[in-house]
Symmetry: C2
Subunit: 327 residues, 2 copies
Amino acid sequence: MENDLRTKLLQAFTEKPDEYLSGQELAEVLGCSRTAIWKHIEELRKDGFVLEAIRKKGYRILEVPHKMIPDEIRYGLETMHLGRNIHYEETVDSTQRIAQRLAYDGAQEGTIVIAEEQLGGRGRFERAWHSPKYKGIWMSIILRPKVPIMQTPQLTLLMAVAAVKGIEQATGCEPGIKWPNDLLINGKKVSGILTELQADSDRIHSLIIGIGINVNLEPSDYPAELLDTATSLFIETGKEWDRATIVQSILLELEKLYTIYLDNGFYPIKLLWESYAVSIGKRVKATTLNGTLVGIAKGITEQGVLLLEDDEGEIHTIYSADILIES
Amino acid sequence: MENDLRTKLLQAFTEKPDEYLSGQELAEVLGCSRTAIWKHIEELRKDGFVLEAIRKKGYRILEVPHKMIPDEIRYGLETMHLGRNIHYEETVDSTQRIAQRLAYDGAQEGTIVIAEEQLGGRGRFERAWHSPKYKGIWMSIILRPKVPIMQTPQLTLLMAVAAVKGIEQATGCEPGIKWPNDLLINGKKVSGILTELQADSDRIHSLIIGIGINVNLEPSDYPAELLDTATSLFIETGKEWDRATIVQSILLELEKLYTIYLDNGFYPIKLLWESYAVSIGKRVKATTLNGTLVGIAKGITEQGVLLLEDDEGEIHTIYSADILIES
């Protein structure tokens, strides 16, 4: 209930970003006393918000806190469902692990888990994902699409498109996508996505999408062996970026694309994915569970799987692989 | 450790079913004292085993207990891996729920969860599964195949074949399979299978296969509304069957088929599935997430999905549906 009032309060400020909102007005909108409003304003201040208060005019938010606390994500969030329920932690083993448990216990669609730091962050193929404190976005999103598991590859590609568009929106920087869902800038990885699911053979129960984005990491934040293959938005642009703004953009883009997908199917998403793809048309080495294939990445199918043409001209359908772009 | 000795002891009796095993011999095989053997024999007796003990010859098992305690499943179990780790409960909400948690916490492949009774047993599409005490087999099996999620339908069909063969082996009764994995005798359901998975978009982490088999249920054990559609091995054969023996047969058949599948792919399993299928070639009504289709079930693909030809001659690929055989 308390938390609910806080959410509504930030929502009210979000809707009128440059106006002063009076205690009276806020009390009416929120359906509580002016004393309760005053108490919540004081709590926002304690959490690091800077508020201007002018007699006879009201309150206005001037600055949001440095940490990515849930309120900072809520303030300015334009989605309908995604990110409305935020599970925030300072330090976790992995946001995926928490989201898996929440999903299993029935968490609603759009619930996100976000942490300032992951000690055991993981990417595809159980690889470690370096997640230093306050430097990046380490987030898991719970979706509950009513679709068969065969459509999982499509949703994985959809998330990659949402991340590219969100990052572009917030920073002006447009990463390319390496199949299926690595985001690259100048050939180096700026973001990785891990899609996990709880399902039965008929349909998906929960899709738990983990995304790691290297936002403000400096070269000294990386272990030496990662410097050849990883980068960050800070390294590429020379600027520090507000992580909450990027989270908001990605959630908004994801919500738009997800709605399009549920209404119109994969085709519009496929076109977008292809427009950002950097691996298509290139010679690639694909390491699969059953061995290694080398050839030209020809494109993706309607199912979202990769087509690879080997040197004998044979076309292979690749459901899962680690891709190295050779030229 | 104690439990380990018990397992080895029953293993020793399993390997030589008609022989007397001396305390000395057992002590050597198990690497413990004769006193320890004597103690374990006494505990078997307390749990309901009837053992014959003849001086200078040794021990022999004459009768196993009435309840399906783990030892009764172990005694006579010929598998290498499946069912070697048994999680047994008298009463549970659902064996799938327990198995899901065990799988998530890292339970080894082949772990089974078995209960005498389920209070909240569930089948496909969240339907209730009636699971009265001591009357049936309510079991979940954890597998960890290193395959992409696209192969889940194949594994679902594989389980149906293993169940048919196991039931046939133990009782002589051969159910037919209605796509994908309902087992029918005389058109009524004797067993249902629910395949759930924990996965990422690259591969399956755990497959949790739930199977319910109506073994010794009498008509009075069913709610009235189920009598038209459900049956039991007892109702069909007039005999009471030993549930542990059926579990053992199914686990053995499953292990054989699963090994064939991992080594040789789906093709041999497909042939077996087709040989037991009762829905193929028939006119069926398929209720899917996107609506209802009526037509002739033509067969299954290499992926394990159903092909249905509608009245206009168009072929539809069905990943998930509820099938009603019309003729």
